[in-house]
C-alpha cells in the first residue's frame, strides 16, 4: 500500500494535469447542461460553483491570515504561566513512554 501511494506521489505532475482536465470538463458541462434550479439569481450561471469555490478559498485564507497577524496570533507559550507548577510542561514521546493513552 505504501508503495502504491509512493507511485501516486511520484506521478503527481500527471495527476495534476488529469485533475485540471476534469475540472475544465466539469465547468464546460455545467455551462452547457441546464440543471433546472432557479431559486437564486446565480443558479443559472454555468460555472458559478467553480468561481465561488475558488473565491471562497482565497478569501478564507487571506481574511483569516490577516485576522491572525492583526489580532489573534500569539506565541505558543502565551498561556503557559497559568499552568500548575512542578511538573514537566512538555509532553514528549519520551515522557509519554510506557503510557497507553
Amino acid at each position: 500500500m505504501g508503495q502504491f501511494l509512493e507511485y501516486l506521489v511520484k506521478s503527481a505532475r500527471t495527476l495534476t494535469w488529469v485533475m485540471l482536465g476534469i475540472m475544465a470538463l466539469l465547468v464546460i458541462a455545467d455551462i452547457l447542461i441546464p440543471t433546472g434550479y432557479g431559486r437564486f439569481p446565480f443558479d443559472t450561471i454555468g460555472g458559478f460553483g467553480a468561481l465561488y469555490g475558488f473565491v471562497s478559498c482565497v478569501l478564507i485564507i487571506v481574511v483569516s491570515k490577516l485576522l491572525g497577524y492583526a489580532f489573534l496570533y500569539r506565541s505558543e507559550d502565551y498561556y503557559d504561566d497559568a499552568l500548575p507548577e512542578g511538573r514537566p510542561a512538555e509532553s514528549t514521546a519520551e515522557t509519554r513512554e510506557g503510557r497507553d493513552d
Binding site: S64, F71, E76
Partner: protein, 568 residues
C-alpha cells in the same frame, strides 16, 4: 414530535443503566478478559439501543414530578443509534488502553448522552446532562499533563455554568407552566433564554464555544473520540427538540460554520484544527434547527448522524498519528504517508465525507441542510454555508493531510497504527461510504419522512466545482497555508487572560487603594490620639500633677476671700 398512540410502553431496562452498571465491573477485570468484556458490553449496549421499539417507557412520579426516563420516538432513536454505534467503535479503538478510569468514564459518558436523548422530562435530562459533564472531564484529565489538567478544569467550569443556567431555566419553566415535560419550549421570558443558552453552551455556539477547542485537543487520544461524538450532538438533539424554528439560531449557525473555518486556517495542532471543524459542522445543524422546516430538521439530524461517524474517523486518524509519533503539530509532521498508509487512506475517507464529496456520507446530509436554506430562499445563509463547505475541504481535506502525511519529510519514521485502531477506523469508514452510496438506509431512520434526493445533477455540479476549485486555490496558495508555530486566541481569552488580569488589577490596585485609605484614616486617628496624648498624656498639660504649694496658696486665698466676705 412525540408519537403517541399504538406504541409500546411499560417497564424496560434503560440502556444507560445497563451500560453504567456494566462499566462498574471493568476495574475488577484484567488484560484479555477485560478487553473481551468491554467489547461485549459495548455490543450489548448497541443491541439494547437498536432493539428499542418507539414508545414511552419506565415513567414514574417522584416528589410530585412526572419523570419520563424513556421517551423513544424517531428523533431520540436516531441519535441513540449513532451514539451506541460510536461507543462500539470507540471501544475497539481504545482496546489497547490500560486505564480503567478512562474506560469507566467513557461508558458513563456515553450512557449519560443516551440518557439525555431518551429523557422525556427536563429533570431527567438535567441529571444526565450533568453526569455527562462529570464523566467526560476524566477523558481530558487522564492525558495527565499540566495542560490537560488546566484545560479540564476550564471545561468543567464552563459546563458548570451551562448546568446552572439550565437548572435555573427548568425551575422557572416549571413555575410558569407547572410541567416539566420536555417538548418544544414555547414560552416567553427568561426561562426560554436560560434553557436556550444552557443548550447553546454545549452546542459550542460562538461566543460560548471556546471550551471545545480548548479542551478536546488536550484530551487523551482515545477519549477524544467519545468527546467529539457526544457532547455537541446531544446539544443538537435538545435544540431540535426544544427550539425548532428559532430564527436567531439560523444566523448563529451560519456564523458558527464560518467561525470554525477561520480559526482552522490559523490552527497548527491537528486535533485543534479538527475541533474547530466540529464547531463549523455543528453550525450547519444549528442553522437547520433555526430554519425549523421538516427538511431542515431532517438535515440537522442526519448531519449529526454522519458527522459523528466521519468526525470520529478524523479524530481517530489524527489520534493514531499522535499515538505513533508523539507529535501533534503540523509544523512538526510531514511525509509520513509511507509509514502509515492505511491511517492516511482511512483518514482521507473521513476527509472526503466531511467535505461532502459525492458518494461519501457528508454529501447526503450536508446538502440537505443547504437545500433547506435554498427552498426557503435564504440566499445569504446559503452562500455562507457553501463558503464554509469550501473551507471544510480546504482544511480537513487538504491542509491537514497534506502537511501531516505528505509535504516536506519531517524525518519521522513511525510504524503503522495498531490493528485495533485501524479496525475501528475501518468500521467508521465503512459507514461513511455506505451512507454515501445508500442514503436510503439513513433516511429511513430520520424523524420525518424524507422527500429529498441528494444526487441531482445540480447538486453534483455545484458541489464538485466548489470543492475542486477550492483545491485549486489551496495548491496556488500552498506556501501560505501551512501551520505556523503559534497559537491563536479565541473567546476563551476572556476567562484565561482578561478576567484573571482584571482580578489581579483589582487585587493590586484595590489593595493599594485600601492601603491608602487605611493609611489616611490612620493618620487622622493617629493625629487625634496624639493630640489627646499631648494634652492628657502623662506629659500632657492637663495631666500634670499640680504642685501642693500652689494648692495651699489657692486654699489660703479662698479662705482669705471668704473671711473678708464674712466680715463685710
Amino acid at each position: 414530535m412525540t408519537e403517541t398512540g399504538a406504541l409500546a410502553s411499560g417497564d424496560w431496562l434503560h440502556p444507560s443503566l445497563l451500560l453504567i452498571a456494566g462499566a462498574l465491573v471493568i476495574p475488577f477485570l484484567r488484560n484479555r478478559v477485560q478487553q473481551g468484556y468491554r467489547l461485549l458490553l459495548s455490543l450489548g449496549f448497541l443491541w439494547a439501543v437498536w432493539t428499542i421499539a418507539p414508545g414511552v417507557y419506565g415513567s414514574f412520579a417522584f416528589l410530585g414530578l412526572d419523570l419520563v426516563p424513556g421517551r423513544a420516538d424517531k428523533l431520540s432513536l436516531v441519535f441513540a443509534y449513532v451514539f451506541s454505534l460510536i461507543t462500539v467503535i470507540g471501544t475497539i479503538y481504545s482496546l489497547h488502553v490500560k486505564d480503567n478510569v478512562q474506560h469507566v468514564a467513557a461508558y458513563v459518558y456515553a450512557a449519560a448522552a443516551v440518557g439525555v436523548v431518551f429523557a422525556g422530562d427536563l429533570v431527567t435530562l438535567y441529571v444526565f446532562w450533568e453526569l455527562m459533564m462529570l464523566a467526560s472531564v476524566w477523558l481530558i484529565w487522564r492525558r495527565r499533563t499540566p495542560e490537560s489538567y488546566a484545560a479540564g478544569m476550564r471545561y468543567l467550569l464552563v459546563h458548570a455554568v451551562s448546568g446552572v443556567l439550565l437548572l435555573g431555566g427548568i425551575a422557572l419553566f416549571y413555575t410558569q407552566t407547572g410541567s416539566i415535560a420536555f417538548e418544544q419550549i414555547d414560552i416567553t421570558g427568561p426561562a426560554f433564554y436560560l434553557i436556550l443558552i444552557g443548550f447553546m453552551i454545549n452546542a459550542a455556539v460562538p461566543p460560548l464555544h471556546a471550551w471545545l477547542t480548548d479542551a478536546y485537543p488536550e484530551a487523551t487520544v482515545t477519549g477524544a473520540i467519545f468527546l467529539s461524538a457526544l457532547t455537541t450532538k446531544t446539544a443538537v438533539y435538545v435544540l431540535i427538540r426544544g427550539f425548532p424554528g428559532t430564527e436567531l439560531l439560523v444566523w448563529l449557525g451560519a456564523i458558527m460554520a464560518l467561525w470554525g473555518v477561520v480559526y482552522a486556517v490559523l490552527a497548527n495542532d491537528i486535533r485543534r484544527l479538527l475541533a474547530y471543524h466540529i464547531i463549523s459542522q455543528v453550525g450547519y445543524m444549528v442553522a437547520g434547527v433555526g430554519m425549523g422546516t421538516a427538511i431542515a430538521l431532517n438535515g440537522s439530524a442526519s448531519h449529526a448522524f454522519t458527522h459523528i461517524l466521519y468526525k470520529a474517523l478524523l479524530f481517530m486518524g489524527a489520534g493514531a498519528v499522535i499515538h505513533m509519533t508523539g507529535k501533534s503539530k503540523l509544523t512538526e509532521l510531514g511525509g509520513i504517508y509511507r509509514y502509515m498508509p492505511y491511517t492516511f487512506l482511512l483518514y482521507m475517507i473521513g476527509a472526503f465525507s466531511i467535505s461532502a464529496f459525492p458518494l461519501f456520507s457528508g454529501f447526503v446530509s450536508k446538502t440537505m441542510v443547504v437545500e433547506a436554506a435554498a427552498v426557503d430562499y435564504r440566499m445569504w445563509i446559503w452562500l455562507m454555508l457553501s463558503m464554509a463547505s469550501a473551507g471544510t475541504f480546504l482544511h480537513t481535506g487538504l491542509k491537514l493531510p497534506y502537511f501531516t502525511f505528505l509535504g516536506k519529510d519531517s524525518g519521522l519514521r513511525p510504524k503503522e497504527a495498531p490493528w485495533n485502531m485501524l479496525l475501528a477506523m475501518g468500521i467508521a469508514a465503512f459507514f461513511c461510504v455506505f451512507i454515501g452510496i445508500y442514503p436510503a438506509w439513513l433516511y429511513g431512520v430520520l424523524p420525518a419522512p424524507v422527500d429529498y434526493n441528494a444526487y441531482t445533477l445540480s447538486h453534483l455540479f455545484w458541489e464538485l466545482q466548489l470543492l475542486l476549485f477550492t483545491g485549486l486555490g489551496f495548491f496556488l496558495l500552498l506556501k501560505h497555508v501551512g501551520g505556523e508555530a503559534k497559537i491563536s486566541i479565541d473567546t476563551d481569552w476572556l476567562y484565561r487572560r482578561a478576567l484573571p488580569a482584571t482580578a489581579r488589577w483589582v487585587r493590586d490596585w484595590g489593595g493599594a487603594a485600601w492601603q491608602g485609605t487605611l493609611n489616611l484614616s490612620l493618620r487622622g486617628i493617629q493625629g487625634f490620639v496624639m493630640g489627646l496624648a499631648r494634652h492628657h498624656g502623662p506629659q500632657g498639660l492637663l495631666a500634670r500633677t499640680w504642685p501642693t504649694g500652689s494648692m495651699v496658696l489657692w486654699v489660703a486665698i479662698i479662705l482669705a476671700g471668704s473671711l473678708l466676705i464674712y466680715y463685710l
